[in-house]
Symmetry: C2
Subunit: 393 residues, 2 copies
């Protein structure tokens, strides 16, 4: 019984920050910081789409609630865009403006899952998808995927092996955080057929839709619109992570319920953030995203080459097996050593059963800084003797 001083046991068991072990080192570091651990961008949002561009004179009531559903002009712009890009007829009632993709996905889990219901997560997964499932009462079930799937058939075999009577949904994200891959359309088509066969919901996290180069991408809703929700983010699209604005699209009857959940968790997305997003959609957003994609592609490719791995096809991440660089201290030892040089990376266990992997974001700081950080990382992975400083060892 969660009476004072006890709380709900499932909440007490929620995972903490990925970076909590490194928090004190991050706080103490005074040199040049290489923040390769967090998914963000160094680029400011497009001109005209910044807070300083939004005036009360132009937008009376700029600081007041919107409806829970969203700012109407933004809803209409999203609806038009989603219908066009995804090739699926879409109505505003199928769209909900959310507090980032995060806000939409967590409310969706709450809507779909009764306690104990299982959500299959293509692994490695986005860490917040696991913790959001836990926080909203579902049971996340990682599906080791990229190591098993080589074609549509093996992709289905990978998820089918983890399906149980309690499975209610499958969740994928593509372009993929953390591997930098883009899941081939034929695989997704096969997964959609399989989901339909088993009456499962589909959750397609597509927040990196703008960031891919090489490899075709297919939107989940184009495969099974009756059962698929797609999550999108202005954060990732236009460099507005701190604005907390994104959207969720899906079947109308369920979206009405999701809207009722979000009424209670955030009420509405921030109005200024919604207007900023609209200005990006209607103005410089596409050009900004295209420029960002070109720069991200170059940075990702260079980082991969320096680290000796395949270049990313999308997203803003690389996922590296660093087993050969670990000593008896395991991954923590490597993370601490790197932190002692100002290099912060995310531990593989945050993304599933990957105790020897790290995730590297190549866009969270100015390119020159990222390059120096990647260089430090590469030298550390190549061998201790090659490291730039030796005193900590």
């Amino acid at each position: 019984m969660p009476r004072f001083p006890r709380i709900d046991p499932s909440t007490a068991a929620l995972p903490g920050s990925l970076f909590s072990k490194l928090g004190h080192k991050l706080a103490a570091w005074t040199g040049e910081l290489y923040p390769l651990h967090i998914g963000d961008t160094w680029m400011e949002p497009p001109p005209g789409c910044r807070m300083e561009d939004l005036t009360v004179a132009e937008y009376p009531g700029l600081h007041r609630y919107t409806t829970v559903h969203g700012y109407r002009p933004l809803l209409e712009a999203i609806t038009e865009r989603v219908g066009r890009l995804q090739g699926v007829p879409t109505e505003p009632e199928q769209v909900l403006v959310t507090a980032g993709a995060t806000g939409g996905l967590s409310a969706l889990i709450r809507t779909l899952c009764s306690p104990g219901d299982e959500v299959l997560l293509i692994a490695p997964f986005w860490p917040l998808m696991r913790s959001a499932t836990l926080a909203m009462g579902g049971t996340p079930v990682p599906v080791p995927f990229f190591e098993q799937a080589h074609d549509p058939r093996s992709a289905v075999e990978a998820v089918e092996a983890m399906r149980t009577e309690r499975t209610v949904a499958i969740c994928w994200n593509t372009p993929h955080n953390p591997t930098g891959r883009v899941i081939p359309p034929a695989w997704l088509e096969a997964l959609a057929v399989w989901a339909r066969k088993h009456d499962l919901w589909v959750i397609a996290d597509e927040v990196y839709e703008h960031y891919r180069w090489g490899g075709a991408h297919v939107y989940g809703r184009s495969l099974a619109p009756e059962r698929t929700f797609s999550a999108h983010s202005f954060s990732k699209a236009y460099g507005m992570t701190g604005n907390r604005c994104g959207y969720l699209v899906g079947p109308e009857a369920v979206m009405t319920a999701v809207r009722r959940v979000t009424t209670n968790t955030v009420y509405c997305a921030p109005r200024a953030s919604q207007i900023a997003a609209l200005r990006a959609l209607e103005g410089p957003g596409d050009r900004w995203a295209a420029e960002a994609a070109a720069r991200y592609a170059e940075l990702g490719s260079d980082a991969a080459a320096r680290l000796g791995v395949e270049p990313p096809r999308g997203s803003t991440f690389l996922f590296l097996d660093v087993a050969s660089a670990l000593d008896e201290r395991g991954l923590d030892g490597l993370l601490f050593d790197l932190a002692d040089e100002g290099v912060f990376v995310a531990p593989g266990l945050a993304f599933g059963p990957y105790p020897h992997h790290i995730r590297v974001c190549f866009t969270a700081a100015e390119p020159a800084i990222v390059r120096r950080g990647i260089d430090r990382l590469a030298r550390r992975l190549a061998g201790r003797d090659d490291a730039p400083t030796g005193e900590a060892r």
Copy 2:
């Protein structure tokens, strides 16, 4: 089993908007609108604290994530202020910046309640406290309070009558939405003693702390800091409802868990909104709130006089028993008639077992508009013949 096309039954049962019945009338209305139904303010935020005042030049990374905990300078300013106003030693680790008070309260319910656990809500209650409790897996238990409580003893008797083995928390809000009352300190002291006796948590919703005139106010944390959470809102304090920024304060161990919940529901409060709040706290906020309070007091007093009820002591609302103005159509009939004149009010059932009450907000539009709306309402309540237009009847 919530498989396609079914969803979680408890989500499917969540209440919809208070105003859904009136939505089509609101959308269709083309005359002067009297939005007495929603809690908001006509005032723009203080100069210097608006989005247009926040520049990338002054705040590099203005559109990027903050930590989940919050923007550090804001956390420090909140901590200092809370310690001073509430008279309780407070550390930043006890504070969480949230997506409005709403975001904090819903995450708190998720943290405190296992499924089926009961939260006593002083009634009439704030509607979102009921639905947030439902949405986050708890069971809201309304306590008809203001009609029963006349002194500390009867206040305790009212809540004790509804306590069960599943009760984990009591929630009050003061200054009170919707009645405009301020709960007397002696009553709250008695409730805190009772909560301690029964190992209950205390949730004190204090978002209208700035808006009271006449009648002493006591902060919940000053009575039982070891078990009390207080919710606060920059929305209500400084006219920033659309910014989605507030804060929650409480015992550190639990606040760490609440932080983990909000990581998944919103990640962090919007950075620009946090900076705007800091600028208000450090600059013109107090003066703005004092001016607002003076104007609200006058408006509330005039509205009460026109409607023939006691003037409000705080908040921005009046809660009226309109039984004598209802015909065979009940409250819906009155709401529809009022909507036909552009006057929108909130139905009493949204606030508990009050089928013959309405809530009126006297601050959501320019004072002159509110006065005209109150006048139309008063004439309608006084009798049909006195109404300004008769054709709809």
